[in-house]
Subunit: 355 residues, 2 copies
């Protein structure tokens, strides 16, 4: 604490990201990175962008990237002006909270969800209500059909991996015409179904995406949002009051090429889905209860063993997974889906620990 700090800073409870250890040779299954590398076309585009032109500012509007994103939705007819881009979906979400979720009434989100949401509320002085998931860790749509200042949740949810069917999403959109409903689709490409088709019909829908998961570019920092143009304009206004150039030349070029490489995207997401299904079977065989996941991670607990102890025992064996201290989920491990060798190492270590 310091007398120079603003009152805002004094009250902050910052987000704690999953560890990024500097040790090599760890089996790193704690931050939901993709086990496969990024698109070769993205790599090629990045190489082509490195040179003297880095002395110049990037396009502040990142038009090249917005066009690539809009085009990738094909038949959904998304226009570039319905696309907002930012420095990772965390930055996009930060702007969303300030631009579209800061109202008189509290924002609603699940009690078990991305733990950055309450942090954004703290940063911007936004009231919120954490709405309990049901006993199966599912969102109950009816709980969100009350007056509110906005709604946000990941679909599939994190860290549970559970997916809210689109019929329920639509009920939620239709029942909240006066507030913005933000669907954080960070993990949707691993088996969920996007709400993108609702953008044309629901002016209150904003979809947020990241290239950190299904596009294997966590190290590049690119996220985006899709919605009707007036929602996007609100985000642009905040962005242009914060940082004119959130995406550098490399981020714009690499992200656009990655989005355009549909073949690599399909191949790697299918591989991750297949590995997840195998992992779920293996964990079940070891006695774990695994929540139904449509993400690139699974959320699992063992009836006889403490979650924290299991995480510590895995760590001793060079495997890191994510464990949350939060009351309802203390017994769970969130395990990112690795490649086959990583999954084998995990299952082997768990077998040993449980013996």
């Amino acid at each position: 604490m310091s007398r120079y700090w603003s009152r805002v800073v004094q009250g902050l409870k910052p987000y704690v990201p999953g560890e990024q250890p500097k040790l090599p040779d760890l089996v790193k299954l704690n931050t939901n990175e993709n086990p496969y590398g990024p698109s070769p076309l993205a790599i090629h585009a990045l190489r082509g962008e490195i040179g003297d032109a880095l002395r110049l500012y990037p396009d502040p509007n990142a038009d090249r990237l917005k066009q690539a994103i809009a085009a990738s939705f094909g038949a959904q007819c998304i226009a570039p002006r319905q696309v907002f881009v930012g420095n990772g979906s965390d930055e996009v979400l930060a702007h969303v909270f300030l631009a579209l979720l800061k109202h008189e009434r509290p924002v609603l989100f699940p009690d078990i969800t991305y733990s950055f949401y309450p942090v954004y509320c703290g940063l911007y002085g936004i009231d919120y209500t954490a709405v309990p998931l049901n006993e199966k860790f599912e969102i109950r749509t009816d709980d969100y059909l009350v007056r509110n200042g906005g709604i946000i949740f990941p679909n599939p949810n994190a860290p549970t991996g559970c997916f809210l069917p689109l019929s329920e999403v639509e009920r939620l959109l239709a029942g909240n015409a006066d507030s913005v409903v933000v669907i954080d689709e960070a993990y949707v490409d691993f088996g969920g179904e996007s709400a993108i088709a609702f953008v044309a019909r629901y002016p209150n829908l904003l979809i947020v995406r990241t290239l950190s998961k299904s596009h294997s570019l966590a190290g590049l920092r690119v996220g985006f949002a899709i919605g009707q143009a007036d929602l996007i304009e609100a985000l642009e206004r905040v962005k242009n009051s914060f940082n004119s150039y959130p995406l550098g030349r490399l981020a714009i070029a690499g992200a656009a090429a990655a989005i355009e490489d549909q073949a690599h995207f399909e191949r790697t997401r299918r591989a991750v889905i297949a590995s997840r299904e195998a992992l779920v079977r293996d964990l079940a065989a070891l006695g774990f209860e695994v929540l139904p996941s449509t993400a690139n991670f699974v959320f699992a607990r063992h009836p006889d063993r403490d979650g924290g102890e299991l995480a510590a025992a895995l760590r001793q064996r060079g495997i890191i997974v994510r464990h949350f201290q939060q009351a309802r989920i203390k017994q769970f491990l969130r395990i990112s889906v690795g490649n086959d060798a990583q999954c084998r190492a995990l299952v082997g270590a768990l077998r040993e620990i449980l013996r």
Copy 2:
């Protein structure tokens, strides 16, 4: 305007950055980019970073870069925990306003200065007072020796290029023990003198820097701040409540290598200074009044010709410079120092226009 916008968004007046035209072959002297490319060591480091590891998140603390920055100040003994890094100095400044300049009393900055400052105040609901520069466009220290919520100015100032001597900076620091004094040293490497030596003595000093100008990396988006550890901690708290990973893997690696390449830095900044001196002489010979500049741009007006008309006439000849509509400086052009060919093209075009 939309019913979904927060009150904050409704009141925003976003910053308007200098144009980033997509036409090639323009002589682009409007956004103070460096005419020389970035360090070859930075290019090499960027190439080395492109690969499968981009699937992984970067180090959220960017320790490698903080260490390089701290080491670059050599005898000043700056520790890595006295360094904050961000996605361009614009992001760093945004966090500075929220973390250290949002208090009961108004922030003070010059009436003619970086026009993003009042925009940040609008974003975060911060009161400010724009303090008039004197008739020679200089900061009068005495004007800042009043109770305030913080002080910020670029040194050298932008868009004037004028430098406030360090003796005056120290008087300002000593006279404002209760508030944070932010010195935005974006342009200091082109002939000014850094206030870095004051960091050890003045707990209220924060220095902000960018790699966009003297390190030729505007396209990469990296800026930083230096100050005593409690000021840096305030910035880290805001950063960790906004975006855990503001710098990607490429930004961290490229910026660290650029900072370490002192030889390239010295060579290019000296070349820019030499070109500026020649440009100042040439403009004076054409009848321009040129403010004394220690930046990589000059601020000049012609006694007989309107600033806006001159900018338009230059543009017709494929040369873009920056012209501001603000009352006191409407007759001025802000001209970035280009390479020799660009400076010749500019002077030749002006000679023709003034004929």
